[in-house]
């Protein structure tokens, strides 16, 4: 039996008001969230742009009171440490993510997936102390290498989790289609599943890179600081986040300006990396990918 009511199709005024109110609240929330982003970007641009010139990017810092100088060693330090950290963490993280997603029946998989979550929640300072104990104390010095290891430990769980998530959304039917062609499970994962989920995979790696490039706490305890260009991986090195922290809390206004410039450069590096990697890996069939 279908019960029909004779209700009018118009809605009460209070409902209309409520609908308006909720819409306003949602827009306000979106506005606030984007306002924070816009304000940070605008302030960094306003404060950082005046100091930018080529020598600022390439030169080593000079003592207070001298003019000129730049943040070359810190850009170098950040790029090298993030680069080495990626070399360590991307293969391990992607491998772990594949294992979590494609071999869920293994007991080891669920156990290590859980530990991966715990590691992702670790305060970065604790990771700094850990690397300080096992590498800095052993080798007797702060070094770019120790900094890279600390950053890689921060990156691994992020890469692993995002790899797992982006592979899990690849439809099971594609795995079966490949297996049914007599393709081995491993090749199916690498050539079919990973290539289908590669956009998510790359986004995950970029997220992890951004996280690592912005980390300060673990570097204080591992990479140390240096105003000179890198002299081998087993020496101290500067880094952009550390420089920003160090210069921003100094009493000199010239250093404050340098900190703003460095902040702008750090944001710019992340932006360029993000866009270029996404362009390089853009799928040939972008327009049809929405359908899967």
């Amino acid at each position: 039996m279908v019960r029909r009511t004779n209700d009018s199709i118009s809605v009460s005024t209070s409902r209309i008001l409520m609908d308006k109110l909720m819409s306003i609240l949602v827009y306000a929330a979106v506005g606030l969230a984007s306002a924070a982003l816009i304000l940070i970007l605008a302030e960094t641009l306003i404060q950082g742009l005046p100091i930018l010139k080529l020598s600022f990017l390439l030169d080593a810092p000079v003592p207070v009171g001298f003019s000129g100088g730049g943040i070359g060693p810190d850009i170098e330090g950040t790029l090298i440490m993030v680069g080495i950290a990626s070399l360590i963490s991307v293969p391990i993280g992607v491998g772990a993510g594949i294992f979590f997603s494609e071999w869920p029946e293994s007991k080891l998989s669920s156990l290590s997936s859980f530990s991966n979550d715990v590691l992702a929640e670790f305060p970065s300072m604790v990771i700094g102390i850990f690397v300080y104990t096992i590498i800095v104390l052993t080798t007797g010095r702060f070094s770019a290498f120790a900094g890279s290891v600390a950053l890689s430990i921060i990156m691994i769980p992020v890469v692993a989790r995002t790899t797992e998530e982006s592979l899990k959304i690849v439809p099971k039917t594609l795995r079966e289609a490949s297996m049914a062609l007599g393709v081995s499970r491993w090749k199916t994962v690498v050539r079919v599943v990973m290539s289908t989920g590669k956009r998510g995979l790359i986004t995950g790696i970029l997220l992890a890179l951004a996280r690592a490039a912005g980390e300060t706490a673990p570097l204080i305890l591992t990479a140390g600081y240096s105003t000179a260009f890198l002299n081998g991986l087993f020496n101290q090195t500067g880094s952009l986040p550390y420089l920003i922290y160090y210069y921003a809390i100094s009493p000199y206004s010239s250093w404050h300006a340098i900190a703003w410039g460095a902040a702008l450069i750090l944001i710019a590096i992340m932006f360029v990396m993000n866009v270029s990697v996404k362009l390089a890996f853009a799928s040939k069939f972008e327009e049809t990918r929405a359908e899967i």
């Binding site: 007599g182 090749k187 359908e291």
Partner: protein
């Protein structure tokens, strides 16, 4: 095409007659007779049979989906597996290429003899079994990141074939066999996912054919397609039986009647009746089969 129409007519006429006739064969005795008949004759009828299953049972966890299937599939013919939803027909063909066991918690017992060799023997590599027994799935599933060409070549490429001439030849041959070549020959670089649903399914058939299997399993290949696309696929299937052994799952009885040489009727995980398609539709021995094909249940 002509043959299909003729069969259709036969079936429709037959259904009308059967509805009038009385059924006096008891279900239990009929079932026993069919089952014992097929197990006793396994050895003597194996010649000319591409695949023979012996007491094939399949489970999902503790749920028994197949309860001991004994079936012989004739070489270079089309065998239809029909039955109501949940009768185990899809699971059955997924056991034939060892795909069932990939589902977590799924298991298989019994034997599946392909050309005299048990594919469930511990010495057998399931990956190689799947190269001999291809599969087309219910929903078209082309690889979305690959072009039409790469989709068809996928099985060869992923198994290490690099020779461009060989790949070109396989792609053209397979697309022609799947009746798709004329429609896509100028768009081989287009994404496979950009084709229409019916074209995608024929692409999947071409993809399965490219690795030169001997058997092709089809799991309700037309259930997601409109009648025109279905007709094209059936036409392709009909041509394919010259060189391939085809097992097609369908719960569309007209489809079984149109394309299949042999038809098996499954119910609740058991093989109820198996025989020539004409015999199954015109003169079913089992009451359940008759009730199913006359639309009284299912």
């Amino acid at each position: 095409m002509r043959r299909r129409k003729k069969k259709d007519g036969l079936v429709m006429g037959e259904l009308a007659i059967q509805e009038q006739s009385d059924i006096d064969i008891s279900l239990a005795s009929q079932q026993g007779e069919v089952l014992s008949d097929s197990s006793a004759s396994v050895s003597q009828r194996r010649r000319g049979h591409k695949i023979v299953t012996i007491d094939l049972k399949a489970q999902f966890g503790r749920v028994q989906v197949l309860r001991g299937i004994n079936l012989e599939i004739k070489e270079r013919s089309i065998t239809a597996i029909m039955g109501p939803s949940g009768c185990g027909k899809t699971t059955f063909i997924r056991c034939l290429n060892r795909l069932h066991e990939l589902t977590p918690g799924a298991s298989v017992t019994g034997r599946v003899i392909l050309d005299g060799e048990d594919i469930y023997s511990p010495k057998v590599n399931p990956v190689l079994v799947r190269r001999k027994i291809g599969m087309v799935f219910q929903k078209p599933n082309p690889f979305p990141t690959m072009s039409v060409y790469d989709n068809v070549a996928a099985g060869l490429k992923l198994n290490g074939v690099r020779d461009k001439a060989k790949l070109d030849e396989a792609v053209e041959r397979s697309l022609k066999l799947a009746f798709l070549w004329d429609e896509v020959k100028d768009d081989l670089k287009k994404s496979g996912a950009a084709l229409s649903g019916g074209q995608q399914q024929r692409l999947c058939i071409a993809r399965a054919l490219a690795v030169e299997p001997e058997v092709i399993l089809m799991d309700e290949p037309c259930s997601a397609l409109d009648p025109t696309a279905t007709a094209k696929i059936e036409e392709a299937i009909f041509e394919l039986k010259k060189d391939y052994t085809i097992v097609i799952v369908t719960h569309n009885m007209q489809q079984a009647a149109r394309v299949a040489d042999y038809t098996a009727f499954f119910y609740l995980g058991e093989l109820i009746e198996y025989g020539n398609t004409e015999q199954i539709f015109e003169n079913p021995k089992n009451e359940l089969t008759e009730r199913y094909i006359t639309g009284k249940f299912g």
